[in-house]
Amino acid sequence: MKVVKIDKENWAEGIEKIKESYKVFGPSKSKEFHLFKELEKGEAPDLNFLNTRLSPKSMFFPQSEGILCYCLDPNKKDECNIVKEIQKDYSPKAIIGIRPCDAKAFTLVRPNFDNEEYQDPYWIKAYDSITFIGLACSNTDDSKKGMPCSSCFCTSAGCGPFNEEGLDALIVNTDDGYIIKALTNKGEEFLNKAELSANSNADELTANINTLKKQAEEKINSFVETDKLKDKILLDLHSANFWDDECFACINCGTCTYVCPTCWCFDIQDENYGDSGVRFKQWDSCMYPLFTLHGSGHNPRSTKVQRFRQRFMHKLKYYVDKYDNGIQCVGCGRCIRLCPVNIDIRKICNIMNSYEPAA
């Protein structure tokens, strides 16, 4: 696969070329934080950021997405009350500057939406239409923004600052240019379409990437223990006595679930507009009491501690048992940084991993 090094001056020109073939999305500063948005003509992605506040998961799993539509007009006999698919735009898109942790996160999510029994066409088609161009978390002299955050723990969560899973190409920001490594055919096509004037010596550049990767990994100094989770008895962890203490401060606000790139829970709701309407699929959260409320009034997770336990058990035990694919977390640290009451998944993970039931 192709590895190229380009001058930063050529960057904007390449991005403009890319816009002829893809809708291009990239990080853009909005007030005090960065978000992914579609780049306008002449706009290049702003790569000077720690990480975006929200992952780009909403690009293929929107917060609220119309999926089906219907007519409620009784005069239109042939179509009244018949639910139909909404046609959507699955034209090629490129996300430039996604962090490796976010790209890996979506590969953890995929088995939920794409498995042997059922495939969610909305998630799959939207995800597959995207070319993921990652941005390694490397430090450079001209910007300290590639530094890991104090809450990043990717290296012990099955990921890393240069992790390549889920990416089609990886950009490494160096002092004197961008090294771009194609990882898939989609990534190679992206590079070809960018027509960036490249100065490449693949072996030298790969060695350079490996050195920067090692340096970046050494900067991550926050870790979680996950090695024993698989062997724990599910019911032992579920009935453990630490949940009450750990959930004490939680206010069930759901922030952790919305900022998490690996959270996928959704609701389905109909919204009517006169004689027509749309069936929406929208983010939901296991933190909310209505999430599991039965029509009878019975609620299997009616208390705060039950919902708190559900989130961590799902990420760190149920997922581990179901898929044997590591934990359902990539260590991006957003839920730690943005939790209003300082609940820390690293602490919960370590408690769970070391838990021994009383004899």
Partner: protein, 282 residues
């Protein structure tokens, strides 16, 4: 790629009020596109999502049997927005059904065995599907003794009254109908008492060839379980059908999970042995 969230269009072909308080009605649906009926091939124990445009969807157990062709039936309790709207609909109205969804009673294991069906309240709907399936001339010889213990609050709350009478008259099925209270009805000739009590009196003895299928409200299940233990039923011979808040019905939306299992996809049918290994979040 087939879209599992897109309902098949159906027309309401018949509506039958089942109970005296009119809270339960059985809807008979006919598929607008005949090929959809083939796609909706189901096994007794599965459920579907009834979909009313503009109101939403509800997961309901299939009441008809796979041996009944040309239609599909659902018995629906009027409880919330969608079910109330459905109860107000008329024969000829068009709506949608998604499915079939979930797993089913393990018919390959149950063949050649004695079956005791224990049901309460409106959870009896999927048990009707199983009974009709087992009693079909093509299938009856595949099962040994069939016992049915079915309870409702009062005689007027029993579902499928005509069929109950017909089954009662047959000699290849033992019906044990009970009510919590007969309301001093002088004509009531069956049992009076809660389902667990009648189970203790009427259930056949436990052995390796006898399986119990239990479906009912949580309180009934809670008190039936120790009775079956007392009678010696092994936990892998007790088959339950769970109900949780479900939405997508295909294991994606994340709300009906119990541990790593999704009631909508890995269930709703589980053995008690399986449930013992899962958190009691149901």
């Amino acid at each position: 790629m087939k879209n599992p969230l897109l309902p098949y269009p159906v027309r309401i072909d018949d509506i039958k009020v089942e109970t005296e308080d009119k809270s339960l009605k059985t809807f008979k649906f006919v598929f607008l596109n005949p090929e959809d009926e083939e796609k909706f091939s189901y096994r007794a124990g599965q459920f579907g999502e009834l979909s009313i445009a503009g109101k939403g969807e509800i997961p309901i157990g299939i009441a008809s049997s796979p041996t009944e062709k040309g239609f599909v039936k659902f018995t629906v309790f009027k409880a919330g927005l969608v079910t109330s709207h459905l109860h107000a609909m008329n024969v000829g109205d068009v709506m949608g059904i998604r499915g079939p969804l979930g797993n089913w009673y393990p018919w390959d294991i149950l063949e050649g065995k004695n079956i005791v069906i224990i049901g309460g309240g409106f959870a009896f709907t999927t048990l009707r599907s199983s009974i009709v399936y087992m009693l079909h001339p093509d299938n009856r010889s595949k099962f040994k003794d069939i016992n049915v213990i079915y309870g409702a609050r009062t005689p007027g709350m029993l579902l499928y009254s005509d069929e109950l009478k017909a089954w009662e008259a047959r000699d290849d099925i033992n019906m044990h109908i009970t009510v919590d209270s007969a309301n001093n009805d002088p004509n009531w000739k069956y049992n009076v008492g809660f389902v667990p009590t009648i189970t203790e009196k009427k259930a056949p003895p436990a052995d390796k060839d006898t399986y119990a299928i239990v479906c009912g409200p949580p309180i009934m299940i809670k008190f039936t379980q120790p009775v079956l233990d007392k009678l010696g039923y092994a936990h892998d011979h007790i088959i339950m059908s769970l109900e949780n808040r479900m939405k997508c019905g295909i294991g994606m939306c994340g709300r009906c999970n119990i541990g790593k299992e999704f009631v909508c996809k890995d269930g709703p049918v589980f053995t008690l042995d399986q449930l013992n290994k899962m958190p009691r979040e149901y």
